[in-house]
């Protein structure tokens, strides 16, 4: 059993979730033959490095107390370049303008022969093809289950569990914030602005909710699905996007009178009638795509298995860490 050394680049909610998940799971994983060891963690202030393995509890404690995990000024890129490890976990924030800093980190990790697991949508939505080519060129693995649907397994479901099927199309609710807002508007007959305020108060929506409510986040996830499952070569700019900001309580009421609800649906379909679209859509109340609260859901249409739907928590630090850990384990197994 060969240990695999990991770095965690980015130590916000998701990075800390990964650390907590590892604290909980390392012993169990070791017993089942998976030996993981975190040798570096970095955030925007600096990093902590220990080739023997970092005390994750202490790192989390330090983050809470000082606001940073850093014990030295060593930057993220220096960690990726200079610290010996096999797998880099990129959990830096998504940036849809240029994909940075994640894009540079991932490319550098490939360049150094390190596998990469990421939850970061920016680089994937902008430079998917480049990233895959670079990973291949350097003979390393690149996995990103956490970038779409949080805990909900969708990429690995389509690629592994449904291997052999042709995936004809995918429709889904890929943003929990929008789903929360539309569900509450529908249930309570409340106006958009009111529910948005409520969601912000609960921490479900950001202070600047643009990224979620304008459908940008859903579009990024759709691009990742389109590229990785359908083998398309598309970017964020190819998606037709309509957000939920214009949805009225009355529209939801009228939909309800017809036995339907309104959901922000991301839709990707291949072939002659290819579609790459994010838009509010009418969905029959009894349809599998109708899930409440902040849940995410995806419906995969396949040629052999027929329709397959999967639902789960689309965000949250431990939920996202679950998807990241599954990718790390998959890489460990395939490279040992």
């Amino acid at each position: 059993m060969k240990p695999m050394r990991l770095s965690i680049i980015g130590f916000g909610a998701v990075g800390q979730g990964v650390a907590r998940a590892l604290i909980n799971k390392l012993d169990k994983l070791k017993k089942s033959g998976i030996d993981l060891n975190v040798v570096a963690i970095s955030d925007s202030h600096g990093s902590c490095v220990n080739p023997e393995g970092i005390d994750l509890e202490a790192a989390l404690q330090r983050k809470v107390e000082t606001g940073s995990v850093a014990t030295s000024k060593t930057s993220s890129i220096e960690v990726i370049k200079d610290v010996e490890h096999e797998l880099m976990i990129d959990v830096t924030p998504t940036n849809i303008d240029d994909g940075e800093p994640g894009l540079t980190y991932i490319l550098e990790a490939f360049n150094r022969g390190r596998h990469v697991v990421t939850s970061n949508k920016g680089p994937l939505a902008l430079k998917y093809r480049v990233l895959c080519d670079e990973a291949k060129k350097n003979g390393v693995r690149f996995r990103f289950e956490a970038s779409v649907g949080g805990a909900m397994p969708i990429l690995n479901l389509a690629k592994d569990a449904l291997a052999g099927n042709r995936i004809i199309g995918i429709e889904g609710i890929l943003n929990g914030t929008c789903n929360y807002i539309l569900s509450r508007m529908f249930e309570e007959g409340l106006a958009y602005k009111h529910v948005l305020g409520e969601a912000q108060e609960l921490g479900i929506a950001e202070t600047d909710p643009t990224y979620d409510v304008e459908g940008i986040d859903t579009a990024c996830k759709l691009v990742i699905l389109a590229n990785s499952i359908f083998g398309m070569d598309v970017t964020y700019d190819d998606v037709e996007i309509t957000g939920i900001t214009k949805i009225t309580a009355e529209a939801l009421m009228l939909a309800g009178a017809e036995g339907m609800v309104i959901k922000l649906i991301g839709e990707v379909r291949d072939g002659d009638d290819a579609i790459l679209r994010v838009a509010p859509r009418l969905v029959p109340k009894s349809h599998p795509l109708v899930v409440g609260g902040t849940l995410n859901v995806a419906l995969l249409k396949t040629d052999m298995a027929g329709p397959i739907s999967v639902t789960g928590r689309g965000a949250g630090s431990m939920e996202t860490a679950s998807a990241i850990l599954s990718d790390v384990i998959a890489i460990y197994k395939s490279s040992s």
């Binding site: 429709e171 009225t248 009355e250 009421m253 339907m260 309104i262 838009a279 859509r281 249409k301």
Partner: protein, 189 residues
């Protein structure tokens, strides 16, 4: 909040698919069934089912027969006349029109962007029409919401009508909310 529900009148178009179910009575002599089916084929009906109740007799001593057929040319009256000419007794006729139907939601300044024109753009196609409209107007300056039911003679025509609605809505700055795909694409063709 004002809430209006309008039931719009609509004309049944001749080329809309019609499913007709007829109860007939035939005399108990050879060749009667063929006699009864000739008018159907003559006027272009597509026969879906014929049930010939050999063992039963009506009070008049005739054999009851049920036929179900599709008609796309509106020539039902010609068929009825023709059946009566050859002496077939028609006990009942039940017809059902089949349309493709879609419900969409519109949001924006629906009334002030000439609702009549929006509907007219669909209706004047001749193959599709707005058959139901529910409108909700919460306030003068606030956007209205409406649900629209559109019928068309076939699914392709329905998609075309939806395309027209989306174009008009874009021009008028209205948001169109469409239903998700109804059916799974056919595979193993």
């Amino acid at each position: 909040m004002r809430f209006t529900r309008l039931k719009l009148s609509y004309s049944i178009q001749e080329h809309i698919l019609m499913i007709v179910s007829m109860d007939l009575e035939l005399k108990d002599i050879p060749g009667q069934l063929v006699q009864a089916l000739i008018p159907l084929s003559k006027f272009g009906a597509n026969i879906m089912s014929v049930i010939h109740h050999h063992d039963e007799r009506t009070p008049r001593g005739n054999i009851p027969v049920q036929v179900v057929f599709q008609l796309t040319n509106g020539k039902l009256n010609d068929i009825i006349d023709s059946l009566e000419e050859v002496g077939v007794r028609i006990v009942s006729v039940d017809k059902k029109h089949l349309y493709e139907e879609i419900t969409v939601i519109l949001i924006g300044h629906i009334l002030h962007s000439d609702l009549g024109d929006t509907i007219d753009q669909i209706d004047k196609t001749g193959f599709a029409e707005v058959v139901n409209l529910s409108l909700s107007m919460p306030g003068i300056d606030e956007p209205s919401s409406a649900s629209l039911v559109i019928n068309a003679v076939g699914s392709q025509e329905l998609q075309e009508a939806l395309g027209i609605l989306k174009r008009v809505a874009r021009e008028k700055n209205l948001l169109v909310i469409e239903p998700i795909e109804k059916d799974y694409p056919q595979v193993y063709k």
